[in-house]
C-alpha cells in the first residue's frame, strides 16, 4: 500500500498539516503559559503593592485571577478560546471571564483552531477514508476479489487482513505525531499525571481511528462500486464530524434555552434590591438589621457596638449579594448542565463528539473544567472579601474610613491557588463516554465482519 501514489500524497499533506499544527499549538501554549505566569505574578504584585487604603476600598480595587494553562492544552485547546481565561474579582459582584482568544480573531476561528486534536479528530478520518474506500469495492470492480475469494480465504480473515493493512499505515503515519506530542509534554516539564492523561488521549484517538477504519471497510464491502463507497464514507464523515455536533448544540439550545443577558441582569438586579446593601444606610433591610443588632447587644446606637458596624454591614451586604449571584448563576449552570446532558446523549451517535468530549476533559479544556475554575475563583473571591470586611469589622473604629492598610496586610491576604482537578476525580465522569466509544469500536467492527461475510464478488 505504501507504494501507492495517492497515499503518498495524502500522507505528505497530512504530515505537513500536523507538524504545522503541533508547532503552532506548542508555540501558542508556550507564549500563553509565559503570559499566564507573568500576569499571575503581576496581579498579585499589584494587590500587595497597592496604595495604602481602607480594607473595604481594597475589595473595590479588586484583583485578577487566571485559569491555568495546562500542559495538554496545546494538544487540545477545547473551549478555552471561547470562554476566556481571565477573571476580575472585586467586592459586591461576581464577574464573567474576559479575554477570549476567539475575540481577537476573524470568523475563521469558528471553524476550529488548528490544534493537533483538531487535525486528528477532524482531518485524519478523511485520510482513513482515502486509504480504505476502495479496499473491497475497487477489488470487486477490477476482479481481484473473485480471485481472492476463489483462493478460499475466509471473509472474516479478509476483514482482519484489510484492517491490519490500514492499521499499519495509520500507525506509521500517526506515531511520529504522538511522539512529537509527547516531546511537547517533555519540554513543558509535565508531571506523571499529565503523562497518564496523554497516554489515555493517545488510546482514545487510536480507538477513534479504529471506528473509522471499521466504518470505511464496512461501507467498502456493502456498496457496489468505489464511487459509491467513497460517497457513502464521506457522507458518514460529514454526518459524524460536522452535522451531529452542530445539531446537538441547536437541539440543546431549543430544549433548554439560555436566558438572554438582559433577562439575566434584570432578575439579578431585582433580587439584589431585596436585601442588605452595605453602601446604603437608608435601605430598609439595612435599617431592619440595624434595629435587630442594636437590640441583641442592648445598645442604642451603632457607635456603641463592640465591633465596627461599617465592616459588619459590608460583610452582611456581601453575603446577601453573594447569595443572589450564586442563586442566579446556579440557575444558569442548571441550564448549561441540561444542555451538556443533551450533548452527552447526542455524542452517542457520533464518535467524533465522544472523542472531543473525552479529549478536552483529559486536557482540562472542556466546559466542565471551565466551570470548575469559575467556582474556585468565586470561592476565593468570597474568602478574600470576607477577610477584608472582617478586618474592617474587628480592627477599625466605627466611621474610621480614613484608617489604612498597607503592604504588610495585603501580602498576608489569602492567595488564589488553583490547579487541574486530579485525574481520579475526572475519571468517573468519563466512564460512560469511554464505554460508548468502546461500544462504537466493537459494534462497527462486528458490522464490518457481517458485511464482509455477505460479500458477493459478482
Amino acid at each position: 500500500m505504501l507504494r501507492e501514489r495517492r497515499l503518498q500524497i495524502a500522507a505528505l499533506l497530512l504530515s505537513g498539516l500536523f507538524l504545522l499544527s503541533l508547532f503552532g499549538a506548542y508555540d501558542y501554549y508556550a507564549s500563553l503559559k509565559k503570559q499566564h505566569e507573568e500576569a499571575t505574578a503581576t496581579a498579585r504584585d499589584q494587590w500587595e503593592n497597592q496604595e495604602e487604603k481602607n480594607p473595604h476600598s481594597a475589595a473595590h480595587y479588586g484583583t485578577y485571577v487566571f485559569k491555568p494553562i495546562y500542559p495538554l492544552s496545546y494538544f487540545d485547546r477545547g473551549v478555552d478560546a471561547f470562554t476566556g481565561n481571565t477573571l476580575f474579582l472585586e467586592g459586591h459582584r461576581s464577574n464573567q471571564a474576559k479575554h477570549r482568544g476567539a475575540e481577537d480573531r476573524s470568523s475563521f476561528a469558528r471553524l476550529g483552531v488548528l490544534t493537533p486534536a483538531f487535525v486528528l479528530a477532524m482531518l485524519f478520518p478523511l485520510f482513513i477514508i482515502v486509504l480504505g474506500f476502495g479496499s473491497v469495492a475497487a477489488e470487486r470492480e477490477n476482479g481481484n476479489l473473485r480471485l481472492l475469494l476463489a483462493q478460499g480465504v475466509h471473509p472474516t480473515a479478509l476483514f482482519w487482513g484489510k484492517s491490519l493493512g490500514m492499521w499499519s499505515v495509520v500507525l506509521v503515519l500517526s506515531a511520529p505525531f504522538f511522539i512529537a506530542g509527547a516531546s511537547g509534554l517533555l519540554v513543558a516539564g509535565a508531571g506523571g499525571e499529565h503523562w497518564l492523561r496523554y497516554l489515555l488521549t493517545v488510546l482514545l484517538y487510536l480507538a477513534y481511528f479504529g471506528c473509522f477504519i471499521h466504518l470505511t471497510l464496512l461501507l467498502s464491502a456493502a456498496t457496489g462500486t468505489p464511487n459509491a463507497s467513497l460517497v457513502a464514507s464521506l457522507g458518514v464523515w460529514v454526518l459524524v464530524c460536522l452535522i451531529a455536533p452542530k445539531a446537538a448544540v441547536n437541539v440543546a439550545k431549543q430544549l433548554y434555552p439560555t436566558p438572554s443577558a438582559q433577562d439575566y441582569k434584570n432578575s439579578l438586579k431585582e433580587d439584589l434590591e431585596k436585601g442588605v446593601d452595605g453602601h446604603d444606610a437608608t435601605d430598609e433591610f439595612t435599617k431592619k438589621l440595624e434595629a435587630e443588632t442594636l437590640k441583641k447587644y442592648g445598645v442604642d446606637s451603632v457607635q456603641h457596638l463592640p465591633f465596627n458596624w461599617d465592616g459588619f454591614i459590608m460583610q452582611k451586604g456581601e453575603e446577601h449579594e453573594t447569595y443572589v449571584f450564586q442563586k442566579h448563576k446556579q440557575r444558569l449552570l442548571d441550564v448549561y448542565e441540561k444542555q451538556q446532558w443533551v450533548h452527552r446523549a447526542a455524542a452517542i451517535i457520533s464518535p467524533y463528539m465522544l472523542t472531543n468530549a473525552i479529549s478536552q476533559r483529559l486536557a482540562g479544556t472542556d466546559v466542565v473544567s471551565y466551570f470548575d475554575f469559575l467556582a474556585a475563583a468565586e470561592r476565593y473571591r468570597v474568602k478574600l472579601v470576607g477577610e477584608l470586611n472582617e478586618d474592617l469589622t474587628k480592627n477599625f473604629k466605627y466611621g474610621d474610613w480614613d484608617g489604612k492598610r498597607g503592604k504588610a496586610f495585603f501580602a498576608q491576604n489569602t492567595k488564589f491557588e488553583y490547579s487541574l482537578p486530579a485525574l481520579d476525580s475526572v475519571m468517573p465522569g468519563l466512564a460512560s463516554s469511554a464505554l460508548a466509544m468502546l461500544t462504537w469500536l466493537l459494534v462497527s467492527g462486528l458490522a464490518a465482519v457481517f458485511f464482509f461475510n455477505k460479500i458477493r464478488p459478482v
Binding site: 507504494r3 476482479g143 473473485r146 476463489a150 483462493q151 478460499g152 459478482v458
Partner: protein
Amino acid sequence: MIHAINLTKHYGDKVALDSLDLDIAPGEIFCLLGQNGAGKTTTINCFLGFVQPSSGQALIHGLDVAQYPIESKKHLAYLPEVVMLYPNLTGLENLDYFSRLAGCKHKKEELLLSLTTAGLEEKDSYRRVSEYSKGMRQKVGIAIALAKKAKALFLDEPTSGLDPKASNDFINILLQLRNDGVAMLMATHDIFRAKDVANRIGIMKDGRLVNVLDNNRNMLHAKEIEELYLQTI
C-alpha cells in the same frame, strides 16, 4: 470431481441456469461454448460459491459448495478472463500473497518454479505487475492455480486477448495439467482452442446445456463444431 446436479439459478423471472447436469472426471477438460448470457459464467460462479443456486447442487470433490464454501475451495483454482493482481507488487509477491491466502506458504524456489512453468521469465518475476502485459498477468494467474495444486480448475475465457504464441503456450500447460489428473471446466468463445484441448464440448443457450459433443480422440473438426454451434444458438 466437478459435479452439477440439476443446478438452477433464477433472477426473478429470468432463468440464468436451467437444470444443469454435469460430471467432469479427473484428467478431463470440458469446454463450454455459448453466446454471452447463455449461462457459462453463471455456471462457474455457482461452483465458486459466488452465486447461490436457486435449486440443485454444485459439488467439488463431493463437497456441496453452498454448504462448504471455504472447504470446497481448497480443491479448486480459478483463472478469470482478466487477471488484475496488485500493480504495486511484483509478480513473485503477487503469487506469494495469493498462495498465502489459500493457506500455502511456499518457498521462493517453488514460487519461481510455478512462474517459469506458467511461462513467465524469471527476471520478469521481480518486476512490478504494473509493467506487465495482459499475457504476463495471465501467466501469473496460471502460476497461482499451479501453486495451489488444485484438483479442479475453472477457466473463464482465459485465452481472450492473448496473442497466438501465448495462447498456444497456455493450451500446452492445460494439457500438462490434464495429464496430472486435473478436472477442468473452461468457458470460451474460441472454437479452435476448444477443439484442441477438450475431451467434451458443451453448447449452452438460455441457461440450458443443449448439446454435448464427444471429442475424446480429438476426432471433431472445427467446421462441424462451428456449424452445430450456429444451429444451436
